[in-house]
Amino acid sequence: MTTHYLVLSALLFAIGGVGVLVRRNAIVVFMCVELMLNACNLAFVTFARQHGNLDGQVIAFFVMIVAAAEVVVGLAIIVTIFRTRRSASVDDANLLKY
């Protein structure tokens, strides 16, 4: 039973990671990061059950709040850059080169 949850969490983490690498729209990239954070949360809650302590659930709660703060900041940045560039594509943003 535990393994099912953990496998689901690992799959979601990998899917989110692929999404971050593949997608070009900053908002969708950010959605994929949220998927990864959710994968972490699932792992925390599962381990909390596994170890019989509450820490994992508390952490999951914290992570959700942090994610909310991150969304606020991220969208503010993305909307600002859109206003000056009229595009939210990650690849268009390439004034900065190696």
Partner: protein, 514 residues
Amino acid sequence: MTDTITAPTIEYLLLSPLLVVFGAAIVGVLVEAFAPRYLRAAFQVPLTLLSLVAAFALVIFVVVKDGVPNKAAAMGAVAADGPALFIWGTILLLAFVSVLLIGDDFVPSAVAVPGSVEEERAVSEGAAHTEVYPLVLFAVGGMLLFAASNDLLVMFVALEVMSLPLYMLCGLARRRRLLSQEAAMKYFLLGAFSSAFFLYGTALLYGYAGSIDLSKISTSLSSVGGQDSLLFIGAAVLGVGLFFKIGAVPFQMWKPDVYQGAPTPITALMASGTLVAAFGALLRVFWVALGNLEWDWSPVVWAVAILTMVVGAILAITQTDIKRMLAYSSIAHAGFILTAVVATAGAKQNSLALSGILFYLVAYGLTTVGAFGVVTMVRDPGGEAWHLSRWAGLGKRSPKLAMVLAFFLLAMAGIPLTSGFFAKYAVFSAAVSGGAVALVVVGVVASAIAAFFYVRVIVLMFFSDPAADGPSIVMPIATRGVVGFAALATVVLGVFPQPVLDLASKAAQSLFVR
């Protein structure tokens, strides 16, 4: 489960530097809300500077009153020990000088060339950005907490408290807005990506140990059997998140972009304060939580250190932009510090390496703030002159400034009689006595490569002719003070380093609280 909640015990005195910084940030927000616009800067600057000074004084007071503490405060959330307090002092000092740079860059609108229309416009709008002061204080508070966190959840929350304001501050440069906003977006997306890795690593370690307390993870290493691969993968994924924050290769790609695009005072804060805080957290994770696992992680850190030193030094040579060059140099310096992170063997050796790292962080932090301070002074009509060709002949146009910058660059290269020499000597000798001789050889070679591009800039400044329409030099009093202080510190630490070395070794003596 009883119906009443037992109140948690909070050691307010030990946490007071942290509380002062966060408290001042909140007062700053209130000032933004209620003070009239023309008064805000007059409130914010002294408030920010005073709170940093007060926090610094409280750090000293804590040590003087009860000696170096060695306990976990606030229900085990914050580690109050020698290294934490030393790092707190360092961060507060570096934040103070960086804030002085900000005071110069945003508020009196020195960004524009004197007398231009742009300056007038900036003056009328300049007061609008006083929110940067509370944001900087939030970030500094996050740094303090990050370096002193005693469990991985506090570390994660502190990481975000530190990073979120910095993401936004990166996008606030008045000149070259597109570049700045792009830097903010890249920093944000990559930062969020890396904190997801940090978190998954935390989850795996929690699954392994059943706790996220650093010392409990350490004790579980001997008691839990049969899940070693879980532990290794968890430590590796967690390490990715931490290496990203210090900008170690292969997770360095954000650093040049962000350092270039961010407003220069913010770059100075990130290059000094964030690096110090991130090393504090990294050391805590690797030495306290995973200390008994050293044989397994040290080869990886070896490889990362070598890559970081070499890639940072080589890529710096190809740069034509002074801020990008300083960014790559900061990557290389992260690699130099990593050489001492590997050098663990026994408590005595550890405290030697730790004191070397602490001294390096102070010396490098002050030098780099000074260098970025010089960058803010050399101005083109469109803002700061970043391109190296604009710096040609600066030695003839403004010999004093060029000498100071040359001195900073020599200190970064590690020439004797500068703080950089003793700093490098401290980490490399710790690494040698920790058995990492090969690493030190690579380090010395990388230093030589790095010295090449520092000298190249010096040659460019002193031995080429200035362009006819060269950049103008703007010297506001506060920036001059910061650069002068940084230069003085670089000299003093280079000629007479013993007091700070003693302080660092005293702080490192008891090692981290477990």
